[in-house]
């Protein structure tokens, strides 16, 4: 540290990063120390490490891999576990983080390399619950029903989901022992079932939630709603879909 303090700003930031060379190899941690710069965040720090891949022991190493796109918390690609909490690295300001900054991949997903994970299961879940509105056909179907402005504003909140996977990482019921699809796709069913055109296929989506690994996997820890960077009311969506699937179950039994 004495050495470090003689440098320009003097201030240093320490990182402990969990790395992994490939999907099957054992994870290990590596430590890095960077010069502090005002406004730096986890992505800019990883970029710094990429430019000068030297660890605290002074060894030249292969740079740490990560993913990012938008750099403004709308794509979800940079999600990782920072100081124990899953979140977007591009929005994680070093000034707001306790040091040393511990960075790990979101292990709920298969790790590809270092901090890069494979979020395919998120997109497969969206396919499974049919999180879209089918309007393709052989002829023009004409304009669909209109949506009330108030409802549109409400639905917009649910549509902010960027399939980042943070809510799955935070959920104690999403793990290698279960097949629970997780909170995000359940909330998407609520969104598409609320849409005036999407509503026409509401039952298909509810039935998808009633398949194995569907909505029944929720155990009400409610971590998801606290973790979601977009403030999506996930637990309200889940309870709403609990209601809808329960109703659907009775309707089917009674042959209605």
């Amino acid at each position: 540290m004495a050495m470090a303090e003689t440098k320009a700003t003097g201030k240093k930031v320490k990182f402990i990063i969990t790395r992994q060379d490939g999907p099957e190899t054992k994870p290990y941690t590596e430590e890095f120390e960077l010069d502090y710069r005002p406004g730096m965040n986890v992505i800019s720090s990883l970029m710094e490490i990429q430019r000068n891949p030297v660890n605290t022991k002074g060894e030249h190493i292969t740079p740490v891999c990560w993913e990012s796109n938008c750099l403004e918390e709308v794509c979800g690609a940079c999600s990782m576990v920072i100081n124990g909490k899953p979140r977007q690295a591009c929005a994680a300001l070093i000034d707001n983080l306790e040091q040393p900054v511990r960075i790990e991949p979101m292990r709920t997903f298969p790790v590809v390399r270092d901090l890069v994970i494979d979020r395919s299961r998120m997109f497969n879940a969206l396919k499974r619950v049919k999180a879209w509105i089918p309007i393709d056909g052989t002829y023009d179907l004409g304009p669909g029903p209109r949506m009330a402005e108030k409802k549109r504003q409400w639905a917009y909140e649910l549509s902010k989901c960027m399939t980042c996977g943070v809510c799955l990482e935070a959920c104690p019921n999403v793990n290698e022992k279960t097949d629970f699809i997780g909170p995000a796709p359940i909330s998407q069913v609520r969104l598409f079932n609320a849409h005036p055109t999407g509503e026409m296929n509401a039952e298909e989506r509810l039935e998808a939630l009633m398949e194995d690994g569907g909505i029944e996997g929720c155990g009400n820890s409610q971590n998801c709603v606290r973790a979601c960077p977009k403030g999506i009311p996930l637990t309200t969506s889940i309870a709403e879909m609990n209601k809808a699937t329960t109703k659907h179950m009775f309707k089917r039994w009674l042959g209605m």
């Binding site: 124990g84 104690p172 019921n173 569907g214 637990t235 309200t236 709403e240 609990n242 179950m249």
Partner: protein, 221 residues
Amino acid sequence: MKGFYSRKLHSLLGIIPLGLFILEHMLTNFSAVEGGSQGFKDSVAFLNSLPLLLVLEIVGIYLPLLYHGVYGMYIAFQAKPNNGSYATERNLRYLLQRITGVIVFVFVFWHVYETRIQLALGKVTHDEMGSVMHGILTQPIFFILYAIAVVSASFHFANGLWSFLVSWGITVGPRSQRVSSYVCMTLFVIVSVMFVWSLFTFRTEEFAGATALLQNIRMIG
């Protein structure tokens, strides 16, 4: 059976009949507090006067308990708790629901063995149940274990009622879930206090039976 339906059945059985049973059990025990040894004997006698008792027991208690308990153990051990990262009250209750479930699972076997099975084997009579409990509960270790178990069962039931209301889509928004939290946690306190109070009452001299019987139970315990 598909996961959805078996999970719904698990949830329903937790309230009907198991939740109703635990309330009934609480009231029966509490009759020891209200009516003393004779009051408890009367309550036990009333239960035994019910028609088709064995059928009631099997359909209303043993089978639902077996299904809910075994499936519950499976659910409990599928969890990967993360209370260190998310130290919220809701996440704590999620963990406690599972821990208390496991405690109740173990306790039920022990408790049924000491009471219902001894009855079935003809080792004790219905009227002697109070003194059986006296024999068990005057031993400090067993008293503590019983106290932990009844508080666990009360929590599991009350918090289970909270999550039942969510699982069936009855409490949907954050506000109704907050109100239901207050109601269910109050229920937890009331049920716990009534159970523990009865445990203390069984320790009093009034419930002491013949010494020979006491010895007998000590051996079993």
